[in-house]
Symmetry: C2
Subunit: 379 residues, 2 copies
């Protein structure tokens, strides 16, 4: 059995306010391309299909197109689970029909114990669950943590193991010993939500979702696929991609296949003057999501607007050596109370832009304050 392992699509996620739907659609096309080239028998998606429990209409449109293409057009069997970012109920709609074309989308704990058998392999599709679900399913009030729940879950799965088949677990949890980045914020690390690796050792392969780096866990039989895209600056240096896994009763192997982002997440460093010089910006990928490390200490009027004219996707600006205190050109603070509103606005304008209001702007401002005053008096 040969399958592709991906996870953490987070369809609809934004990166510092920038919509990633185009990048996500592109990464998806690469995943389909890899699946075809590698002639896999199935595609595994280990949770967090959406970024939010109530995704936007735009995110739903993109996701709907993806699953139609993957399963109905390209005819790949799909083995998927809901993650902690998904609403299991919202994702459940259609599930009972999906199975007609070998699209298995598990959203409830009770579904995890009916393995999907393909070729020589049993797949156990365990969606993300809270301890309360295990408490109800096993009718066991003692279950307070994910680890306690997982012990019983794994036991019940082992009862269904067919000895002459390979056994794969598809799951969405934090496994003890894994390394975390900044963009997986919802689950606790090393706390109540942690699953010990030892619990998983009887599986031939554990296809994990939740952590966004492919190297987050190094185990003989378990991998996080990581997300198809970089979702935060902390993932800047991660190579994104998918695992191609080959299972058999005797041996399981897996290899990584890279995904190249449509627009990368990149950090650049320099003085403001250097960064806005064509020599520099023509030498780099200006379309990338850029985190800028500025070496200047001086105050730079209208800085963000100027940077964005050169770099359309600035996700952050950091002053490497701090910033000079702005010179006190004006009266000390307590005198601000004595200024009339037009003077206050004028001062704010020059603080921000480094320019002063024109005569025309001053007149417009005065007229508008007058209108406001009149309306106030009229009440």
């Amino acid at each position: 059995m040969r399958f592709l392992h991906t996870a953490d699509w987070h369809i609809g996620k934004k990166l510092h306010g920038y919509d990633l739907l185009e990048e996500q659609a592109d990464a998806f096309q690469q995943i389909i391309g890899i699946a075809k080239t590698e002639k896999v028998d199935a595609i595994v998606v280990a949770g967090d299909l959406y970024d939010r429990s109530v995704p936007s209409v735009e995110a739903i449109e993109v996701f709907n197109r993806m699953i139609v293409e993957m399963n109905l057009q390209e005819k790949f069997p799909v083995l998927a689970i809901s993650g902690n970012h998904d609403s299991s109920t919202r994702l459940e709609t259609g599930g009972p029909w999906f199975v007609q074309s070998n699209f298995h989308l598990n959203t409830r704990l009770d579904q995890a114990f009916e393995p999907v058998e393909m070729n020589d392999t049993q797949f156990f599709l365990l969606p993300y669950f809270e301890p309360i679900s295990a408490r109800l399913y096993f009718a066991n009030e003692e279950i307070r943590t994910i680890e306690q729940g997982m012990k019983l879950v794994i036991e019940e799965m082992k009862n269904r193991f067919k000895p002459d088949m390979a056994h794969v677990l598809i799951s969405h949890f934090f496994v003890a010993g894994s390394e975390k980045t900044d963009s997986e914020t919802t689950l606790m690390v090393g706390g109540l939500d942690t699953v010990p690796l030892s619990l998983l050792e009887e599986f031939d392969y554990v296809a994990l979702g939740h952590l966004h780096g492919k190297n987050a866990l190094q185990a003989p039989n378990a991998r996080y696929s990581g997300s198809p895209l970089k979702f935060s600056l902390s993932e800047m240096n991660q190579q994104k991609g998918v695992w191609i896994v080959e299972t058999s009763h005797q041996e399981t192997t897996f290899e990584f296949r890279e995904i190249t982002p449509l627009r990368d997440v990149v950090q650049i460093e320099g003085s403001f003057k250097e960064l806005i010089a064509p020599d520099f910006y023509e030498s780099i990928d200006r379309e990338a999501y850029l985190h800028i490390q500025l070496t200047d200490r001086a105050v730079i009027p209208n800085m963000m607007n100027q940077l964005r004219q050169v770099y359309p996707r600035v996700i952050g600006v950091e002053r490497l050596y701090g910033r000079e205190q702005q010179k006190q050109k004006h009266e000390p603070k307590k005198e601000i109370k004595t200024l009339v509103p037009t003077e206050l606005v004028g001062r704010f304008f020059s603080d921000v832009t480094g320019e002063t209001l024109t005569k025309k702007q001053q007149i417009w401002l005065a007229e508008n304050f007058e209108t406001i005053h009149q309306e106030e008096r009229g009440k």
Copy 2:
């Protein structure tokens, strides 16, 4: 071809704050029962499956169970469209898989021109659409109203008519000449969103959704099914149910089958004393959703709480003959400004409940105001 015509399920709708999911599940069971008894070949649902574009998780759970039972368990072919209350994109998920088991759920205008053929009948499933969708589909900037759009839509459908078959339109609009109640608030009546009946005359049957009364439109070839439940007081006297339609190339007939609500919407009238007397309330259905018409004019302290002890589902209280002005027991209004907060709360309490604060309540109140003052000073 024999089918059941229903519409306007509005799953998740509340009636004056009361959740109707239990009533909706019960009405659905009656619909399934009628479909079985009448041995229909299909079930038609003419839009407004949900009450809101983003339904609650509870509403989705109920709806998912309904469609699984109707189509996968009871094996009824289903012909459904989205209505103006539905989010077409959110409803679309799963649609391409649903058709594998004869569940046709159209949510986009372009799907309306691929009729579903069953037995001797062509079904055109036209979801609710805005003029902008017709403008884009027909690449015609002139289309500003639903009527203009519908003309082109119907023309295009007629081009697909097979002359030896019956032709049924499933649609969700306000048809000119129909009668409206209070609970269909979103579309305009008789304005830009109105479709003239004459446009529909070449269909053997038009299965309409949108208006909640089965008698809203009297036409030889068109009916609103109405909602399965009463969704407002104005629907109090409507008989709810579904149409059983029999189409053939020669003749089309339709008959109404009633649904009995789990809890009815009822209006009762009497004095407060009469209404809370066992003689009266034991003679009526206390579990119904009740609109109460009070004949008293006197102020009745703590009225709603007393009524709700007898009638658990009061959806409104109306004073048939107005209400006496409450006697001015207290100082005139302008003196209120001089009262301290504890006095103000005490007065409000006795105005509303007709009782005075106990000593214990007064102490509790004073202590809490003191805490608030301290916190305010601490800021």
